[in-house]
Symmetry: C2
Subunit: 136 residues, 2 copies
DNA sequence: TTCTCAAAGGAGAATAATTATCATTGCCGA
DNA sequence: TCGGCAATGATAATTATTCTCCTTTGAGAA
């Protein structure tokens, strides 16, 4: 399950620690864009001694090493995502639910559009849609 | 300059106070998506006695009354925008610069796309593009 | 214009999320 | 197996924001 993690860590000469593995797996398991707090709660079950600071540090380094992504929210809390493939997010206006929305046809449409319509003085790296609305 | 503000406040039976006017005008003047801190610094020049709590309270109520919008960032700091018309944001990956990007043709393209391709179990209210990249 | 009073503001304490510090631990290459 | 150094744990500090509570003030009524 954590093959990718271990590989990436080795590749960058970072140590493979049980904490890093546990945190990475927690984000995957929790899989609805957990907050640091969600992750801490989940991990404490199997790692009752893990430190909060460690969780934040590990999350940061996993983001830096492109094993996780940060998700923007309305609130001032960071959330994390283990799905690395290019996708968008559906934000529920009522609850705090955030779901992934992958749509290759849409990506194509947008990327075609920007190929034809460059933004002046700006080099686009990445385009994400924040789709707000309501689940039903 | 604050006609719209005063109108909206009156309309909702909210008091027109010098603090509200100053904060609203500050967001317009600073016009690059200022943080609360930016706003406080700016306002202190003319309103040295304004309280930080007031700035936050006013910003919240202006957002609630649709005179300002909150802008999501990578960081866990809120930023504010006085431009209400539908537009997207260009995020600079290096600096914290955020610029508006309005593009009616693009909006049309996306809204047409979603008219034809509904997202199941989800009612879309609004779609925003976060375009990250680099100014040059 | 003055009065009234709820709404708004000010000062500072409190909270919550995150970051920093630093002594200790443990991963991993030699 | 061992030693060095990166990573962790415990906890203090910081930062952005919210809350509390008392004072002030905008604006409708008299």
């Amino acid at each position: 399950m954590s093959k990718l993690l271990i590989e990436k860590l080795r590749e960058k000469a970072l140590k493979v620690t049980p904490q890093r593995v546990a945190i990475y797996e927690a984000v995957i398991r929790l899989n609805n864009h957990p907050t640091a707090e969600n992750i801490i709660d989940y991990i404490k079950k199997n790692h009752p001694t893990i430190s909060i600071g460690t969780v934040y540090k590990v999350l940061d380094s996993l983001v830096e090493n492109e094993l996780l992504k940060k998700v923007k929210t309305e609130k001032d809390i960071m959330r994390y995502d283990a799905v690395l493939s290019n996708h968008h997010h559906l934000y529920c206006a009522e609850t705090d639910r955030i779901e992934d929305y992958a749509d290759e046809k849409l990506n194509q449409l947008i990327s075609d559009y920007f190929k034809k319509n460059k933004i002046k003085n700006f080099k686009v790296h990445d385009i994400k849609l924040q789709i707000t609305g309501q689940f039903n």
